[in-house]
Amino acid sequence: MSKETELTSEDLSKQRQSFIRARKLSVSYLAYSMSTPALVLIMLVLIFPVLAVFGLSFTDWLFGAKHLNFIGIKNYAQMLGDRVFWKSLSNTLIYVGTVVPGSFIIGLVVAILIQSSTSLRGFYRAVYFLPVVASLLAMAIVWEILLHPTVGLLNLFLKNIGITGRDWLNESSTVLMALAGIGIWQMSGFSMVLFLSGLVGIPIELYEAAEIDGADSAWDRFRTVTWPMLGPVSLFVLVISAIRSSQVFDTVKVLTRGGPNKASEVLLHTMYTEGFAFMRSGYGSAITMVFLVFILGIALAQMKLLEKRTHY
């Protein structure tokens, strides 16, 4: 009797194992069939093209040409000696360095002000977010007339208070800041909603505790509770706005084409000009690689900072 049961249970476990094995196989089969379309597309439109950009950046290929030669790092060497490239890189850095802190501070202040009371909360949130939704290209054309030297609202307003305005988009000393201003206008709402979501997550008890500990003024509460609790969101806002502002292109292409005298030339616009206007696919690819490294660098810096943060 006991032997029989043993046999049966052994049988059962064997059956079970083969069942499990079969199920595992069928699950893997299913999983592969479910993820294959995505994997194929990832390869076709992302991975292969990125590898192709890397490969092309070592060639002298002109779009449509019959022959191409491998020229090693000549494209990169040429880039390093090119005034336009350096101007473009430093303009991109200045642009990012202006738009990121600008939209960060405005987004943070607006979020805190909105959250500090319930009155008109929904209205303010919608208004500040509107520029994120609207087509930047269409709005750039509106900004063009707002910044017009004689009939633009900005200069008419400045004239009213006794300041002579500039030809913002056509003077090399002001053009980059004018574009950055449009960038801040467009990006602040994005930072604001991220900060709002961070503020909502701060437990009320922390503020109560801070008050008991004598944090009376609004500034004290900001310094002891809000700012430390917003740490992760702040880092995230910095990184995402740095990545997004590095991709500035629409306003440059429509309003200035990198001018005057390359004063508003930025990386993506240089890449577009070389790769698609001059059809220098090889050289354009080399600039694309620099752009990619630039973005990956920002992401890497975020990871490093996150690692540091978890230690304290």
Binding site: A31, M34, S35, A38, L120, S135, L268, Y272, G275
Partner: protein
Amino acid sequence: MSYVRKLSPLAVSVRHVLLMTGAAVMLIPFIWMVSLSLKPPQEIFTINPSLFPKVWYAWENYSLAFKAQPLLRYVLNGVIVTLTIFTVQVLVAVPCAYALAKLDFRGKGLLFSLVLFCLLIPPQVPAIPLYIAFWKLRILNSYAALILPFTISVLGIFLMRQFFKMVPDDLIDAARLDGMGEFTIVWRIMIPNAVPALVAFGIFSVIAHWNDFFWPLIAIQDHQFMTPPLGIMTFRNDEAGNEYGAIMAAAVVICLPLIMAFLLAQRRFIEGITFTGLKR
């Protein structure tokens, strides 16, 4: 609920003054866009502008905007392209996200790392090789050229995977016992449970592709296939600034669909952006 402290009357007014000033700056471009679209040229190029036109010129501007270029065509193209892109993105990303969240298979970790890596690739990086490939395939200047590069959304895979992970396994096992196949489980069980993530994904995708300018500028030459931003840029360049009223009218028309959608479903939009933003 977040912390709201009773503000003093002074603080209340300071809050409104500051926020209203900022709100005015945010809104001026929109208000001015509409205002200019209603004005004749002499009221646009004046140093004494007014908010409302003295001579109403709306009909002339808007009819020129629709006559001088196929504006409706651009809007229609925008609708076709953004909806097709999002539909394909869902069909491709959702099963993959389900496999990554709920199934065990060899290579899963590798696939997920690949997705994470691809999240970091800016959309402009593959442009040159894709342009060359599409030229070889003779599909530049077509809907296919506008849609194909965006058929995969790694952000979509990532978002849906995060959300699917929160669906309890018991629910899936129960469905399996009822004899449901895995694909049926995805569309009947997972999708209805993941509506917020799907909405967020949709809003993000539609905003990005309705407003995308870089790729259409490269891939499209014919008015027949132009999307709204590309269309309005060509119109502006053709008019060389003479018909500013009509250009503003065109700008109003191409901004309107998304702004209307946003005002109608504000909460969803903001949640959507926050959701996609924070989950990255």
